[in-house]
Symmetry: C2
Subunit: 355 residues, 2 copies
């Protein structure tokens, strides 16, 4: 990272809480959003961390997204509910929905909550981790505005709609899988341009929808789905569960927060929690998870210097390291958010050093 | 297909029903298995159709898999159940489990059934189609013996565990997505060898776990997961839901029906059904599905001669065509199953012509 500064995670949490308070949130809501953003940066998922504060702040100030949403129950069938997110901040709507799903799973073994009328909720694994901490397996997904072309298509018709999965373990971190339905994230195109490299066919198309190996042409074009029709199909499934069945927005009805900063996004989420203790007592479940992980950890690698990571282990290691050493933040980003802070009369965030 | 014959689908259904009857199944069970196999061939998924009859028959004759299983309820939490498949024929266990899931979804909005101690259940979309016919969205998955290496790994540790999704539509066919977690099916390696072509990196490894472009070397090696860590992670999720939480077999505990023909496979399945009518009446739901499909159908293609297919449309078109023209079967396969038929005193299956 060019010219990156180190930020203490507790200082960042306090700073963000103050920012969200000044942006009108009740203290509990401000804390939830601050904790989510900091955890995301601690995990190393910097694309969904404090980098998004400026757009969130812009939208909260204009009341395009609500910092204290009145989330309403639209339908309840015993183990499945539909909620209206009241155009709320996505973190708040997401955790609220997963809390409902956990409550249902506690009673019925499984619980599903589909939410309409929400906004960008950050990293999907925030919600599966919430469930895992409570002792539940979970699936979290969200639809986003179309940014993927179908294999052979020349215009985006579906989003790279992420799916996350979590499960409790005996280790210091839950099973954590958080994947979007594009082959790679858009950031990889920028990286290839920077390095002067070609990109593999299958990553992206040019502006006409033709698969390309030229990352500059790809920036004019669209991302391609993971594994062709497989990722394309999964992306459609996410949209059906997050936008079609709950009466909410789907496909082009969803508004990008960057392209349409003055409109609520209409984003939908689906949260599913499952009780892993239906048949197994806690010890047997954890023993089985240990055994499951042991197979992965003890599997030989083709490059003997490499290390086999468990799902969530990289995020865990990054979190431990960043807790100790600080979160790296580009100096330009720090400048930008401190500019915002000064407008809101919040004390500026200070770096503890350089990376 | 070399030297393929045409088989009338009704004749095939009758033939298979008779075969399964002679193999000891009650008539209802024989009909379910026959219908499933014929439907799979009608869809064009020939890898999971009548091609598998010889191994099913071998295992039924030895009572390794039970043709009339006594499927038992192990746990029930209201909207989630765990079943023991009693080493039954996978089709029977699969439909039984999905019936439970539908019943639960009818009452609670969502229903989940995890089954242990089953066997190869054919195409996962058989079960999501069952749910879609009953008016439910559904997810079906199964674990299989490890045949995938992790990215960087040199030994298989997880299966290409398929996931299917289905949803009702107003069209003549449901939404149908049925994908395995390998980049491609093993059959594509054979095809590349036949054509004398190289394969893309990312399809498979050689025997040492190194990614290869040589399809012959790949036959000695292993399949690679869809999209690297993404497909690998999804495959682990399937195994957690089908094998870990239900107290059943997972990872290397699952026995391939080809490598271990005399052992029940211990396969697990997970069936989830969701009621799309929680909030929407039937008309609104179907209107929204129409709109969803319209976006896909009207999307421009980069090659204007190509056609955009909806999920399930290729299977539907193939089904209509094969219903009229017959199902193509290699003559060697027909010979083989007629050999089995003669041992079981079943009248041989006659072709209606050549392809």
């Amino acid at each position: 990272m060019h010219d990156a500064l180190r930020i203490d995670c507790d200082a960042l949490t306090l700073f963000l809480t103050n920012m969200f308070r000044r942006l009108g949130m009740a203290v509990g809501n401000a804390e939830i959003c601050a904790d989510d953003i900091v955890l995301t940066n601690l995990w190393g998922i910097d694309s969904h961390g404090v980098l998004r504060l400026p757009i969130y702040a812009q939208r909260l100030r204009k009341n395009v997204i609500k910092g204290n949403p009145n989330i309403r129950l639209l339908a309840d069938a015993g183990a499945m509910r539909i909620l209206d997110g009241d155009a709320g901040m996505g973190f708040l709507v997401g955790h609220h929905a997963m809390s409902h799903a956990i409550e249902l799973a506690e009673r019925c073994g499984i619980g599903a909550v589909s939410v309409t009328n929400s906004n960008h909720f950050g990293a999907a694994s925030l919600y599966t981790s919430q469930a895992a901490r409570a002792g539940y397996m979970a699936i979290a997904m969200t639809n986003v505005q179309p940014n993927l072309v179908a294999p052979g298509g020349s215009r985006p018709i579906t989003g790279n709609n992420p799916i996350a999965f979590g499960a409790p373990t005996r280790l210091g971190f839950p099973f954590l899988l958080d994947i979007s339905m594009s082959t790679v994230a858009g950031g990889k195109l920028h990286l290839a341009i920077e390095k002067g490299e070609r990109i593999p066919l299958g990553w992206a198309t040019d502006g006409k929808g033709c698969p390309t190996e030229d990352p500059t042409a790809a920036l004019e074009g669209y991302l391609l789905p993971l594994g062709g029709h497989k990722g394309f199909g999964l992306s459609l499934v996410v949209d059906l569960l997050c936008g079609v069945i709950n009466g909410g927005a789907f496909q082009h009805q969803i508004r990008s927060m960057y392209a349409k900063p003055n409109d609520s996004s209409g984003t939908g989420h689906m949260m599913i929690a499952l009780n892993p203790g239906l048949l197994l007592d806690e010890n047997s479940y954890f023993d089985r998870m240990d055994q499951f992980y042991c197979t992965i950890k003890s599997s030989p690698l083709s490059n003997s210097d490499a290390k086999m990571y468990l799902p969530g282990e990289i995020e865990h290691e990054t979190r431990e390291r960043r807790r100790a050493e600080g979160i790296p933040l580009p100096s330009t980003l720090l400048e930008k958010i401190n500019g915002l802070a000064s407008q809101l009369n919040v004390a500026p965030l200070a770096a503890t050093g350089r990376c």
